[in-house]
């Protein structure tokens, strides 16, 4: 797939900006805080409707304005698609495809695919389990858009169940009769039913991603290191059978019910999952060197590119946010070899010094200066 044009209106620090992409690689050159990453964020939003930097849409809209808009023309093998996201500083988003407003945001997902690789991604290895869950979820949403709906349902059940557990704890403290156990049992059943769908889908995607990442990791580290990716679900997944997983889930809920009652929160479920990375049998999180961790993240990102390409049938976009300069020459070359001209790539950088001359020749270079872009 190829992003032909991007139009930002009152988005972040852009008031009005039209960009036409004319080469498979585009380098966005500019000092810090000029709007380079904002542009990549706009593309990320089109692909996933999520941003790894913003919690609320208010942050995405140009300050003082009620609305912001991202529109784009995307060329896919099946034809050209116009995408648009309307953001409101106070209210819900509106998404549309080919000028038609969609009733559900779910239908917008999966039209455009992108893999984001930023310097923040080192947190994938160093950060807490939440970072890894969020990474896995974002990937899954692109591969199986319906997962966005499942995840949202799971989070609603989780919040409701937590509220009920808190009520029970509170009423116990003041000596009132707590809400009935029948209601809790129904929330348990729902948590287990929807939670096991989350677990099985996560396991499935990691099964497909792990061998790809392993191969890449070996190639980048010149076969000296062996990467293992292991899904460590909070509820054990022994058999990929919905009813077995649900039963394991319910059993564990029963086991932990006293602790849950005491803490007033849900302790069992995929919101407590972990993904473990080990290099040569050593946990990468604790023992990996900076270089090893970079290799690992790069291998994961390349694996994501390949996985999305094989599932979707078209190469996704690659967004490299300030990350190329951080890689040494060997890793840079591995990355560039993979991308070639097949994956449309947007790269942000503060200086062109670290780029290969051959590379610069074939790239479109845009200069970003305080919310304006010049050729």
């Amino acid at each position: 797939m190829y992003l032909k044009t991007l139009h930002l209106r009152q988005f972040r620090n852009y008031r009005e900006q039209q960009i036409a992409f004319s080469a498979p690689k585009t380098i966005l050159l500019g000092d810090n805080a000029q709007g380079k990453s904002n542009l990549l964020e706009a593309v990320e939003l089109l692909a996933t409707l999520r941003s790894h930097r913003a919690l609320r849409d208010r942050e995405l809209v140009l300050e003082g304005e009620p609305i912001g808009q991202i529109t784009a023309t995307l060329e896919r093998e099946t034809g050209t698609v116009d995408l648009a996201v309307l953001l409101r500083s106070n209210g819900r988003r509106t998404v549309s495809l080919n000028g038609e407003t969609l009733r559900r945001q779910l239908d917008f997902l999966g039209v455009m695919n992108a893999v984001q690789f930023s310097s923040l991604d080192l947190d994938l290895v160093r950060g807490g389990p939440g970072e890894r869950r969020s990474w896995l979820d974002t990937l899954l949403i692109q591969l199986e858009p319906v997962y966005a709906y499942i995840l949202q349902q799971y989070n609603t059940v989780l919040r409701q169940r937590n509220a009920l557990l808190k009520q029970r704890r509170r009423s116990e403290e003041v000596g009132e009769t707590p809400p009935d156990l029948e209601q809790l049992a129904i929330w348990d059943a729902q948590l287990a039913a929807i939670g096991s769908r989350v677990i099985r889908r996560r396991a499935r995607v990691l099964d497909r991603l792990a061998p790809l990442a392993q191969t890449w990791h070996q190639a980048i580290s010149s076969s000296t290191e062996q990467l293992e990716i292991c899904y460590a679900p909070n509820v054990q997944l022994e058999q990929d059978d919905p009813s077995v997983v649900q039963q394991t889930f319910l059993d564990k809920l029963a086991q932990r019910s006293i602790a849950e009652q005491h803490q007033g929160t849900t302790l069992v479920g995929p919101h407590r999952d972990e993904v473990e990375f080990t290099i040569n049998q050593t946990p990468a999180r604790q023992y990996g060197s900076q270089g090893q961790q970079r290799t690992l993240v790069l291998a994961l990102k390349l694996a994501e590119l390949k996985l999305i390409e094989s599932v979707v049938g078209e190469p996704p976009l690659l967004l490299l946010d300030d990350v190329l300069a951080e890689l040494d020459l060997n890793r840079q070359n591995k990355l560039l070899e993979t991308i070639q001209d097949r994956f449309q790539t947007l790269i942000t950088t503060t200086h062109l010094g670290s780029f290969d001359a051959q590379w610069l020749k074939s790239s479109q270079i845009l200069t970003v200066r305080s919310g304006h872009i010049e050729e």
Binding site: R104, L106, D107, P145, V146, Y149, Q153, T156, V157, R159, Q160, R161, A163, L164, Q167, P179, D180, E182, Q183, I186, W187, A189, Q190
Partner: protein, 189 residues
Amino acid sequence: MIEQLQRLPGVGPKTAQRLALHILKRSESEVQALAQAILEAKQQVGLCSVCFHLSAEPVCEICRSPNRDSHTICVVADSRDVIALEKTREYRGKYHVLGGLISPMDGIGPDQLNIGQLVRRVSKQDTKEVILAISPSVEGETTTLYIGQLVKPFTKVTRIAFGLPMGGDLEYADEVTLARALEGRRELD
């Protein structure tokens, strides 16, 4: 007045302004009639003591009607749902309005809804079927399962099917709806 109107559901600042200007342009008697109608409705309309649907009488028209099948009770979340179902003119039984859905986050448990009244109603009367017509959200699902458990000992319990809209093309249906429709499939008769 604009501020007051804006508190109504579905009315934003612009609509509120338009409504206010419209009211100011009307004759005093017209405005009087509108105000009177609103006030009267508020004073007179209460809830039916049997089914909890909106009603000007102690027992609503549907509950009083001798032409309706009193052995079938359709359970809905809200009075709006009764109105929607009545429009179809397909249903000839009675209703029971819960007044919401179970949602611990909003502090709504079974005790805040008309669930106890439903169980009493079903256990006392000769009820042949309870139809649960509650939307398939997470909260709706919980409410459906909860009521199902309580009512099952007394009578047959069914729930409405979810799936494809009429006139909709199968290929345009989304995965979630299709999965739902597949789950609720039935034998061809």
